[in-house]
């Protein structure tokens, strides 16, 4: 069935479709590289569990998958506690500080944190007016043709000091906490896979009776 009569693409439509296709492909490639990077990081993070469990397995203290999981979960929890202490402290200090500050000013609205004119952490950043970015037609495509107008240039504001204290502490603590949780997740997967793999025997490589030949002599 010929569908050409149904779909009539103009030259401009073809260009737009090709451009969109290339952009989508590039986005997929970038996502795949980001995903691969995260997987590599998680593999690296999971090695802590190998270090913790190696001697127990090699000496034969842990000799069943169930026992392996029991001990590995204990060690995993200990590692989590060790890694999360500092980010938890940062989060605790920042939240406590903000609660005290908000109760002091008697206003519990947190929207001032993003106020780039006087009170927010955003006073320290460039703020662009993205909706009013200039556009131009390029081979029939409406593309951005320049930087948007600058709404704010970095500057210090005395009124924004609570934001300057809270935002860095909270964001560092939160990211650190999430990285630690990612490591916890990676170690959990590792312990489940290794609890089966370590005690698995391979019949393909075994020579029948090979373990008793020495005794026969």
């Amino acid at each position: 069935m010929n569908l050409n009569w149904l779909i009539k693409l103009t030259e401009e439509d073809t260009r737009v479709l090709i451009a969109i296709f290339i952009i989508v492909l590039l986005v997929f490639v970038i996502i795949s590289y980001i995903g691969s990077l995260i997987r590599k990081i998680m593999k690296f993070q999971a090695k802590d569990l190998d270090t913790a469990m190696h001697d127990l397995v090699s000496t034969g203290v842990v000799d069943t998958p169930r026992y392996f999981r029991k001990i590995a979960i204990k060690k995993n929890n200990r590692l989590l506690f060790k890694h999360v202490r500092i980010p938890f402290l940062l989060l605790f200090v920042s939240i406590t500080f903000m609660v005290i500050y908000l109760s002091w000013i008697e206003n519990y609205d947190l929207s001032f944190l993003l106020d780039y004119q006087s009170k927010g952490i955003t006073t320290l950043f460039f703020i662009f007016d993205w909706p009013n970015q200039p556009h131009a037609l390029f081979f029939g495509l409406n593309l951005p043709s320049g930087w948007p107008p600058v709404l704010n240039t970095p500057h210090f504001e005395w009124e924004a000091w609570p934001s300057y204290v809270f935002a860095p502490l909270f964001s560092v603590g939160a990211v650190w906490f999430l990285v630690s949780i990612q490591a916890y997740c990676a170690r959990t997967f590792r312990l489940w896979t290794m609890s089966k793999a370590v005690f698995q025997k391979n019949l393909e490589k075994v020579v029948p009776g090979s373990d008793f030949k020495r005794n026969e002599k």
Binding site: L25, V27, F28, V29, I30, I31, S32, Y33, I34, G35, S36, D55, L56, T59, G60, V61, V62, I71, K74, K75, N77, R78, L80, F81, K82, V84, F88, F177, L178, S180, I181, Q182, Y184, C185, T188
Partner: protein, 127 residues
């Protein structure tokens, strides 16, 4: 080209899996927070009883003991091997010393007396 297509396919897979991964991470964050609070209380209790939450588990102690005995037995084995090797070499050198005057009779240029003595000794031993 194939590698590029594989990359694109991986990208699509990761894009589909991303929401599930985020949900999983959020679940682990909640579980992790609960575990952390539990461990925090446990560590406080252990701290006031003079212990630490990072102390070795009984299994760790057993593993260390086994590793220690393994190292000891290896050391003993190497010691015994060294001893037997040194004894054997010692005996061999003795045998060579005993046999030396008989094998090298022309060595009397410097120590003629000693050579005679040794030969007498060796003859005596031979008897």
């Amino acid at each position: 080209m194939l590698e590029f297509l594989k990359r694109c396919g991986l990208g699509v897979l990761y894009l589909i899996a991303a929401p599930f991964a985020v949900v999983l991470l959020a679940l682990f964050a909640v579980v992790g927070l609960i575990v952390f609070i539990f461990m925090l209380f446990k560590s406080l209790i252990l701290f006031f009883s003079g212990r630490s939450v990072f102390d070795d588990l009984p299994e760790d102690i057993e593993a260390k003991r086994r590793l220690g005995t393994l190292v000891d037995t290896r050391a003993k084995k190497t010691e015994t091997v060294d001893k037997t090797v040194s004894d054997e070499t010692h005996e061999e050198t003795h045998e060579i010393e005993r046999a030396a005057p008989q094998e090298v009779p022309e060595d009397d240029s410097d120590d003629a007396d000693s050579g005679d003595g040794s030969s007498a000794d060796s003859g005596g031993e031979a008897k």
